[in-house]
């Protein structure tokens, strides 16, 4: 296991390096001169001096390789640069304040998704072509086709108009007021997790259906074990591997979804920060947010891989 873990960890270094080069290329090379882009927005006029000042501030007057080296050097030390929009504020602070809220949202969404999806998928698999199976298949098909933002709107519409339920106003952090925070986060997490719920339920259904036909299930029943124990200990335990992989994989997608869900539900997370900075053309902050998200996804994928190896000995020794 240790060798497997070391090998997997070593492999992410080149990936992260490449990710950083892509972000840098997109954010620094593509616009040509970010200073010019920022200043010439709209019909604004500016002097050569202002242009030179902004270039100096952004550091774009130096050779491109030096810029990249500087950025990476700072990155390794946890320095993500300075924001243009919130002039002078370190980006690390801006991102650090907000990333936890986004992470909370994503974790809640995954918990809600798995909590609904696994029972739905299992029931669907053990009673194929029953009414529950049909209902669950329709729900899951709708779930994977509805865009995240429409799911968000439907959740608001149904709960507020249909049930008159509204989350408390004014954002509260988890550690300041846990109850208020959870009430506020429930709706966005539900909307965010809807797609993943559908996807995980489909995977659970298909992997359970395969497992039900396995010899060891028949053996377990022949031993006289209760049906519940057969399904949970022998069935679900084996079905959990693909479910876990998909859930970890979906986690990356959730980060994308949070951008939209946070802006609908006005959650001050990293997604709303990204939108604000895109409007403000705050290139250093945009660049920082994208790299933080991409690296987080690489790390989550690594953790899923490691967990997979821990749970399934066949992977470790392959």
């Amino acid at each position: 296991m240790r060798q497997y873990a070391l090998k997997r960890i070593a492999l992410i270094i080149p990936t992260v390096l490449l990710v950083s080069i892509i972000v840098f290329t997109v954010m620094r090379l593509l616009p040509g001169d970010p200073a010019l882009v920022i200043l010439s927005e709209g019909d604004a006029t500016f002097t050569q001096e202002e242009l030179a000042d902004l270039r100096e501030q952004l550091g774009t007057n130096r050779p491109i390789v030096v810029q990249y080296g500087d950025w990476i050097y700072g990155l390794v030390q946890g320095d993500l640069g300075t924001s243009i929009w919130r002039s002078g504020q370190p980006v690390t602070k801006l991102v650090g304040e907000r990333i936890w809220r986004t992470l909370e949202l994503a974790v809640l969404a995954i918990i809600i998704a798995v909590a609904f999806a696994v029972p739905l998928g299992v029931i669907s698999a053990i009673k194929p072509d029953s009414i529950i199976d049909y209902v669950s298949r329709v729900i899951t098909l709708v779930g994977i086709s509805i865009p995240t933002f429409f799911a968000g709107l439907l959740v608001v519409l149904i709960l507020s108009r249909g049930f008159g339920w509204l989350p408390p106003l004014g954002y509260a952090d988890l550690w300041d007021d846990p109850w208020k925070n959870l009430q506020q986060m429930f709706l966005p997490a539900l909307a965010l997790g809807f797609y993943d719920m559908a996807f995980i339920a489909r995977v659970t259904r298909s992997s359970m259906m395969e497992i039900i036909r396995e010899d060891y299930m028949r053996t377990a029943r022949a031993k006289g074990l209760a049906e519940r124990i057969v399904l949970v200990r022998h069935g679900l335990k084996n079905a959990v591997l693909p479910i876990l992989t998909i859930s970890g994989w979906q986690f990356g997608r959730l980060f994308g979804g949070t951008v939209i869900i946070e802006s609908i539900f006005k959650v001050p997370g990293i997604g709303t920060l990204l939108i604000e900075t895109v409007f403000q053309r705050d290139f250093p902050t945009i660049q920082a947010i994208i790299i933080v998200i991409a690296v987080s996804i690489v790390i989550i994928n690594l953790l899923v891989d490691l967990l997979y190896g821990l749970l399934d000995p066949r992977i470790r020794y392959a």
């Binding site: 490449l18 997109v26 593509l30 429409f150 709107l153 519409l157 108009r161 994308g256 951008v259 994928n301």
Partner: protein, 309 residues
């Protein structure tokens, strides 16, 4: 003796050829009829998609077919008019006609979707074929870049690109190209890797066919099915990304009617006028739903190997 033999042999070949000619060949129409019989949902989806494309093209070419000018704030006397005869989908906060805006909104979705997928999947397929065929260092380099590209959530990469390029329909297409390429390259490459080892490719190499001839005549025709399926599936994805960007207000300029943009306004007013959010939402969902269904049906019909992707 030998001549007779050859004669008989030739006769047999002739008979085979005749039999082949007698076998009824499916015309395009028959193929479509067969597809609608086996995949009725796929066929209905195809009709929905064609109607949407038709609505977009016709309303662009002849704006007069729309019930009202989508930008006309005096289309209706009242603001926030609920759906009723004459204003079938109601009116918005400025009194503009929601139905006309919805039809006009399909133009951007279809334009951005078709163009980005057309260029993106074609380019991705070509790079995928080259990457797999050339192999070695080139393949390794391309695949590592593809790996890294896949670490970005599509919408976040799109936001970054639009921030840099500026918001316009063509820049959204550019951003979508960058997003669509890695997945397409990956799928086509894996197919070419197996086609490369098949007997007919080896036979072509053995009789001295050049690389370009092999790629164009032997590999390309065999990835066409995957290409069509990928194009269909990614079209839904492209439409969602465009709508998401417009929804967030960073895609196409806000004065052009788009489904995503209409949804943004609808969200803000969801408690006063539910129809402003619900209709554009349904429009996007139905089109994407239809595209996914058609994609699944085409995949099952054309290329069962892609199942489960």
């Amino acid at each position: 003796m030998t001549t007779t033999n050859t004669g008989q042999g030739l006769a047999a070949v002739d008979a085979d050829a005749q039999l082949l000619e007698m076998r009824p060949r499916q015309t395009q129409v028959q193929k479509i009829v067969a597809f609608s019989r086996t995949k009725p949902l796929g066929a209905i989806s195809a009709v929905i998609i064609l109607l949407t494309i038709l609505a977009a093209v016709v309303s662009y070419a002849v704006p007069g077919v729309l019930p009202h000018d989508p930008l006309d704030v005096r289309a209706h006397e009242e603001k926030y008019l609920p759906p009723q005869p004459g204003a079938w989908l109601g009116s918005d906060h400025l009194g503009r006609d929601e139905l006309s805006r919805l039809i006009a909104g399909s133009q951007i979705s279809i334009y951005v979707g078709l163009l980005s997928v057309g260029i993106g999947v074609t380019l991705g397929a070509l790079i995928g074929i080259l990457s797999a065929y050339i192999g070695g260092v080139v393949d390794l380099a391309i695949q590592r870049i593809v790996d890294a590209m896949m670490a970005f959530p599509p919408i976040i990469l799109a936001l970054g690109l639009v921030a840099v390029l500026g918001g316009s329909a063509n820049n959204v297409i550019m951003a979508l190209l960058v997003i669509l390429l890695p997945g397409t390259i990956r799928v086509i490459r894996s197919q070419v890797l197996s086609i490369k080892e098949l007997d007919y490719t080896l036979a072509a190499t053995a009789i001295g066919a050049g690389s370009i001839r092999i790629m164009l005549r032997h590999i390309l025709p065999n990835v066409i099915a995957s290409y069509i399926v990928l194009g269909t599936i990614t079209l839904g994805f492209a439409i969602i990304i465009e709508a998401s960007l417009s929804f967030l207000g960073v895609g196409v300029p806000p004065d052009i009617p788009t489904w995503g943009g209409m949804l943004t306004r609808g969200t803000e007013e969801i408690r006063i006028a539910w129809w402003l959010a619900v209709f554009p939402g349904i429009a996007i969902s139905v089109v994407v739903f239809a595209i996914n269904f058609l994609g699944d049906a085409l995949r099952d019909t054309l290329d069962p190997r892609l199942r489960g992707r």
